[in-house]
Amino acid sequence: MSFVTSVSTGAVRAGTSVMYASLGEVIAQRAGIINLGVEGCMLAGACAGYIVTAETGSPYLGVVAAFIAGGLLASIHAFLVVTRGANQLASGLALMFLGLGLTAFFGRPYVNVQITPLRNYPVPFLSDLPYVGPVLFDHDLLTYAVFPLAGALWWFVFRSRWGVMLRAVGESTESAFAAGLHPARIQYMAVSFGGALAGLGGAQISLAYTATWVENLTNGRGFIAVALVIFAMWNPLRAMAGALLFGGAVALQLQLQARGVGVSPFLLDMTPYLLTIVVLLIWAQRGRDAFPAGLNKVFRGTG
């Protein structure tokens, strides 16, 4: 397989989980809520998906369980910050530890259990095409679904009436309320949906990519997803691009090593964070324009 094909295929494989989580966080932050517990939601999805798959033998039921588990965990965050007015950063971090602890506890009996993984469905004819075939048309269903999802979410945020409501709430809950919306309800839905997508991202790792459950399976990918939201300036399509860049950096590093070229895996692990810093440097002003004004509350306090 050519170098470019290998790295591009790897970018899709390694980027999908982060893409789900990042898309989810875009929606939550568009509603004015930062969820630093994305990592916990990913773990909840990865673990619940694995347990349900191991018990039922169906990875698709596992995917459903992952969606629900990620959403439920995130709804705790929504309850704390929307209903109780808690500090979003502290609540998010607590959520991360909660996810880590709960999944370590409930996942323990399943560490060495084997599952039927989500299988690859190569698209007939298309998967045989040179270059694009392996990159785009030889994946599992969760991976196929993430690209149309990114497009749909872009349309939702920027072109639909619902998107206007979501963004209005993210800019100012008071104005949105005055306009007759239910900001709390919309924020609940956005945060829970974001967590549910993070759960799907976790499931892509545990059910498709590795067919494995171990504690802390996601290894910080949830935090990368949060960093990518800033890189993406709250735009789903840019989040997709950012996740592919992250996946590409992982794949590039491993592919270079597999070819005997010496690169430091330590340096390349920093890529998503470096990208974010570069974007912040270059597009500081544009970033400020895209920034949902409601997020300011996170730093000013809501009291």
Binding site: G10, R84, F97, G101, S264, F266
Partner: protein
């Protein structure tokens, strides 16, 4: 309302955080029963602490060491405290201090990076004996133990060198520590002893257990034509499954992983710590233990070669058995000169005998035939 709600929110949050942290600590701290302080035990009762960097059922490194702990628990008058997921940082010091407060007088810090924390805690607690797994230095009350897993990896290399069709082997490892380099080098030497054209490509993941990165490494090696996978990871299960899916052969590490690869399984270098752990504990209790660097091998039964998979033909199995016999008899020295590094420099001179283990464990190069660079 605006004044009350945030405060109540903060309280709720505080409770939620404590709950979360408590759960986390419970998950890390293992059984609460084990952690209860010893009360009214007989004078000869001893409390022993075990630290693991991961989960004890990771199907790998920690699980192998945990089997040793279980053997120790069966000794009379022994109380065991275990702590899982102890990071290789100051956190390890805190965990060890806690164990000592609970009466531990022997501590097994089982991960490579637990050594410096153990030495630090040891300075403050001179009466406690620390038995560290894999450490390359000692202190007044900190001794180390390890096993020559590279002996078994040499034999696995013979199997790999025989079954490969592309003459390309792959090795997915975590960090470039000397014991990892020893494993890679002896695997390549074993393969080369039966197949002069063979090479071993190394990929570093910079993480002891990141299944997604391991799986991705395997796929990238496959793209380069590699058809046999070996690993130095704490949790090799994901890699073995990825290799099986890609139609590759697999060599496991730490524990037998045959169930993950019904077709491609070759063998594994595995550990049996039970006898050594029990011996060490008995020595410390009897006052006969002397701090030092204990290094065991296949001859001691600590390092083992897992049963062969069906992918290893009978004649190759016989060939490996013969080589194993020679190693056990001391007739075959894996690192006898000449040993050349990747640049062709002679690191162990022609005609030289295999250096002692303590010297081998300072190895900082990859041998000729290994593809890949050691990250700086």
């Amino acid at each position: 309302m605006r004044h009350i709600l945030p405060n109540r929110g903060r309280w709720l949050l505080a409770i939620a955080s404590i709950f979360a942290i408590g759960l986390f600590a419970a998950a890390c701290g293992g059984d609460d029963d084990d952690a209860a302080p010893a009360a009214g035990g007989s004078a000869s009762a001893v409390t022993i602490g075990f630290l693991y960097v991961g989960a004890v059922d990771d199907g790998g490194y920690n699980q192998a060491a945990y089997q040793g702990q279980l053997a120790v628990e069966k000794l009379p008058n022994v109380k065991v405290i275990k702590a899982e997921n102890v990071p290789e940082s100051a956190e390890a010091e805190r965990v060890m201090e806690q164990m000592i407060q609970q009466g531990a007088t022997i501590i097994f810090p089982t991960s490579f990076g637990h050594l410096d924390p153990a030495i630090k805690v040891g300075e403050k607690n001179p009466k406690v004996t620390f038995l560290h797994q894999g450490g390359l230095k000692t202190a007044a009350n900190v001794g180390t133990y390890f096993g020559a897993s590279w002996e078994a990896n040499y034999l696995a290399g013979v199997a790999a060198g025989k079954v490969t069709k592309t003459n390309k082997l792959g090795y997915v490892v975590a960090f470039p520590i000397s014991q990892t380099l020893l494993n890679i080098n002896s695997f390549q030497l074993g393969a080369k002893s039966v197949n002069p054209a063979v090479t071993t490509t190394v990929v570093f993941t910079a993480n002891w257990c990141d299944p997604a990165k391991i799986a991705e490494s395997v796929k990238n090696l496959k793209d380069q034509g590699v058809d046999v996978l070996n690993q130095h990871q704490d949790c090799p299960g994901a890699g073995i499954q990825a290799a099986e899916k890609a139609g590759m052969f697999s060599v496991g590490y730490h524990v037998d992983g045959a169930k993950f690869a019904p077709n491609g399984w070759l063998t594994a270098s595995t550990w049996d710590w039970t006898k050594l752990f029990v011996d060490l504990v008995n020595q410390v209790r009897a006052g006969t233990y002397k701090v030092g660097q204990i290094r065991q091998s296949m001859a001691d039964g600590t390092v083992k070669l897992a049963p062969f998979g069906k992918a290893v033909p009978k004649d190759v199995q016989d060939q490996i058995a013969a080589a194993q016999k020679k190693i056990l008899a001391g007739e075959l020295e894996i690192f006898a000169g000449p040993i050349k590094d990747q640049g062709g420099t002679e690191k162990i001179k022609a005609g030289a005998k295999q250096p002692p283990v303590t010297e081998l464990e300072t190895m900082n190069y990859l041998v000729e035939g290994v593809v890949g660079k050691i990250p700086q």
